[in-house]
Amino acid sequence: MLTKLRTNPGVYDVVLINSARSQQAAGEDLLTPLDLANYSNASGLAPALRDNAYLKTDGKLYGVSWVWGMNALAIRDGMDKPESYAALAAPEYKNNVALFDDAVTMIGVGAFLSGQDMNDPKDLDAVAEKLKAMKPNVKLLWSSEDQWNKAFSAGEFDLSVYWSGAAVRSQRKFQLPLHFVVPKEGAIGWLDSLSIPATSQNQEAAAKFINYMIDPKFYVEWATKIGAPASANEKAMEELPADDLNRDIHKPEYIETMTLMAPLPDDRRTAFNNLWQEVKAFYAA
């Protein structure tokens, strides 16, 4: 997306940017600063998301938080809900765990377990140790939702690192008997925000469009008729039916406990990837 913005000035009026990339885009002067006062629907936004530091550069806001989600745990119905990610290494789940084949997520889990900042763990060896301890439990590493659904319905594992949005879909579409669990360490969160490119020719219309996108009425229709990620607008979430799975999984309190993925410097990203690769090779050996 950033590449498109850089190479096509003036073409886009609204862009969707992951919160981890906002500061980079703003830093390159690709975005227009925003004033939430112009967005009538912004009043319902969860404060923790609305005012998130990653959306701000030099104290100015560059993105309106729009949708969010979490990576945490999924457990088969009927089993005790794990309180901590430590369950991934617990002996009772021997050969019964699926991990998400994603370096940032898994390093995050390892960082939680070793009591470190998920976005900047200083002691990668401790992270590696925590992750390697899961080896006897790890049955497979999943990389697509489809793969996850097939393996889960075949009963190949009971406990897994999973996406909140995917958990909704797995239950709704395939009636898979699972619970999405956010352990005490909190979830690994992501947030998508809407921004206006600095080069946009229709700033006003763009603002109107963004306001419409965070409108609870629009969201409820989108979420119930088509299916949508969790809205950053708390009012929108409250207007969903009480038994709505999406609402049930994306509880407002999780917003407080989750850690949002931060922009990663290149060398840290490389270090994460290499570490995860090493852990995977350890699992395979």
Binding site: D101, K135, L140, L141, Q147, A154, E156, Q277, A281, A285
Partner: protein, 298 residues
């Protein structure tokens, strides 16, 4: 007839392109295509492998050899490489045995319509979506999968034979996917074996295994070697089968390299690993073909 001969035989009154020009004109499109489709991307990847980071955004381009130190900096990669090579050898070996047998059956035991139908059946894996093909195997070989159901039909108390998420499962998936190459190359090699040569061997007292190992296998050796190359190279770079069928053990050079391109966004490292593997494979083949040539001349 060599092209010069046909050109020389023409009456002098008719003007013709010089034969080298005609040859060049004929070959140009394919070479141009080869350059565009194969060599250019390869060259680009080769260039990437000397970069510090993926050249995107307005990061400065830094040239370095550090990517080629990967096996030194991350020694666990040696274990991964070894696992990939052994998967490659197993897959190629099984493909050679099964593919040769299938090709032989196609050439010798059937004729006409039956042969065509069988050939199409053999090629079926080519025409099925790879992902579908691999996922189907997960349903067969998982614990309580079709394989177990089938076995328990005859022996209800049979222990599970499911071997999903093991190295044999990866090899099985790869063999299924790449077997057609071996069948085809062996089939073509065996088609060109004169029936009379086999009969001559029999008339001289050769039993079937002598015919097989002294006549058919050596005569089809070019097909076996071509098939082996066609299979071994992509197999050690394969990532779908290890990921889906290998579970925890499915970490190969293929998955490591793919991770660099898709997840880690570290194209330089991915390229460097790929070219290192390529160099190893070429070295293996060079040694192998040297041995072959020497044994052929003695």
């Amino acid at each position: 007839m060599p092209p010069e001969a046909s050109a020389a035989g023409l009456p002098a009154t008719r003007r013709r392109m010089p034969s080298w020009l005609a040859t060049a004109a004929l070959l140009l499109p394919s070479y141009a295509w080869l350059t565009l489709a194969v060599l250019l991307p390869l060259a680009a990847m080769f260039a990437f492998s000397f970069l510090h980071a993926t050249p995107l955004g307005n990061k400065p381009v830094v040239w370095t050899l550090e990517q080629y130190r990967a096996f030194y900096d991350q020694p666990y990669l040696l274990g991964v490489a070894w696992a990939s090579l052994s998967i490659g050898l197993w897959t190629t070996g099984i493909c050679a045995v099964v593919g040769f047998a299938a090709a032989l059956a196609l050439v010798r035991a059937t004729a006409g319509r039956a042969r065509e139908t069988l050939l199409i059946l053999v090629l079926l894996p080519f025409w099925t979506n790879g992902l579908v093909r691999v996922f189907s195997w997960t349903m067969v070989i998982r614990e309580g999968g079709f394989l177990d159901v089938f076995v328990r039909w005859f022996w209800p108390s049979a222990p599970s034979l499911g071997f999903l998420y093991t190295t044999p499962a990866i090899v099985l998936g790869l063999v299924h996917g790449y077997l057609p190459y071996m069948v085809l190359t062996c089939y073509i090699a065996l088609l060109s074996v004169d029936e009379a040569v086999i009969e001559a061997a029999q008339s001289l007292g050769a039993r079937w295994w002598t015919v097989l190992f002294k006549i058919l296998v050596p005569l089809a050796a070019p097909g076996l070697v071509t098939g082996a190359i066609l299979i071994f190279v992509p197999v050690i770079g394969a990532f779908m089968e290890p990921r889906i069928l290998g579970g925890r053990v499915g970490v190969t050079m293929g998955t490591v390299i793919e991770d660099q391109f898709t997840q880690a966004f570290n194209w330089p490292l991915g390229s460097a690993l790929a070219f290192t593997m390529l160099a190893v494979v070429l070295a293996v083949f060079a040694t192998f073909s040297g041995v072959l040539r020497r044994s052929a001349t003695t």
